[in-house]
């Protein structure tokens, strides 16, 4: 079919939509983009906004909200890679800083959980020893 274009909308956490469409509208970085079948191959990024899909052969227009992402367009194929998270350079940077800090704090905090884990291991060892002693006693008695 020349008058339709296949659309896949996926996010990292799941597939959102897959089907053929007569027309697709996406919020591209440079402004809204209408994609008809046999569009020139194009790669671009998406802003947060709505993706509208007009299904092939009529039917109601479908709306999807994306928080940004990327789009690949080929003459018969549109792939929308939607981001599930709000992303920006400084946001990512802040998240990275937080992850670093978590690691540092976890390493510094040697008192709490660490002692607990060690105490648990010690306890297990003691219980095993006790069990062995009990068995030995029984053997002697028998």
């Amino acid at each position: 079919m020349a008058s339709s274009i296949h659309v896949d909308i996926v996010s990292a956490e799941g597939e959102i939509y897959s089907g053929s469409a007569a027309m697709v509208f996406v919020p591209a970085a440079a402004g809204e983009l209408g994609i008809a079948p046999r569009h020139a191959p194009l790669l671009t990024t998406l802003k947060a906004g709505e993706v509208r899909v007009q299904p092939a052969g009529g039917g109601e227009e479908q709306l999807f909200w994306v928080g940004g992402g990327a789009i690949e367009i080929q003459p018969h194929l549109v792939t929308v890679l939607a981001d599930t998270a709000a992303r920006a350079k400084d946001l990512d940077e802040a998240a990275a800083q937080a992850a670093k800090q978590r690691a540092e704090e976890a390493l510094k905090d040697r008192s709490g959980e660490m002692d607990l884990a060690e105490a648990q291991a010690e306890l297990l060892r003691a219980v095993a020893q006790l069990r062995a002693i009990e068995k030995l006693r029984k053997m002697k008695r028998a």
Binding site: A12, E72, D92, A99, K100, R102, A106
Partner: protein, 286 residues
Amino acid sequence: MAGAKEIRTKIASIKSTQKITKAMEMVAASKMRRAQERMRAARPYAEKIRRVIGHISAASPDYRHPFTIERAVKSVGMVIISTDRGLCGGLNTNLFKSVLVQLREFQAQGVEVHLTLIGSKGLAFFRRLKLPVVSSITHLGDRPHLADLIGTIKVQLDMYLEGKTDRLFLVHNRFVNTMSQKAEALQLLPAIVQDAGDLQDRWDYIYEPSAAELLEGYMTRYIESQVYQAAVENVACEMASRMVAMKSASDNAGKLIDELQLVYNKARQAAITKELAEIVGGAAAV
């Protein structure tokens, strides 16, 4: 002979333990199914993004992103995914053992290792080794979100771009089936990009903005999606492993109860016999 009452309380306590392990088994079974569904749901994204990267690298062979360039290995990064909670059999232990083997190899070659730890069991274990831990995240829950992982991964990606590490590995449990999970190490960086073979004629995209910038975004998302998928898979592994462990615990508790019941019956019978003997003896004396 132990007192009948003591044995009865012991049986009661084992019964309540069995109730708990049975409940945990059932919860793990249903959570496993949901985790497997999420695993399946995450697959299309990774496939599509891999295809797009393949297209780009086929369309513009002259540009190569730093993420795809091999370097001499002096220092490596490792992302290790473990569970947050215990009681899941040997899942974490097996994973850590396989990591220790790799660490020893790196040490023998004089290669530095920088760790990123996902999951509190991994953090508790590797903190004892005194290796540099560059980033970590714990308590992702049964439903990890990509948004929580972005920062943690970015630390490693930045280190790679700055040349502080020359290779990046992802260590996680692979879900083979309910009964078996396998520790697996996967090379994330440099990424191995295969050409998309299905392109008949070579054409180029219109890029908006530049190809380099787009490729960077795609590569980052690709790696993030791989780590996300591994995290989801690890949840499925955790649940499967816990289910099996709890099933064998319930079975063992059942066996223990049977044995104790036997001992209890014997003790009760012995007590009755003794009492009868005493009565008969007493009657004879009168």
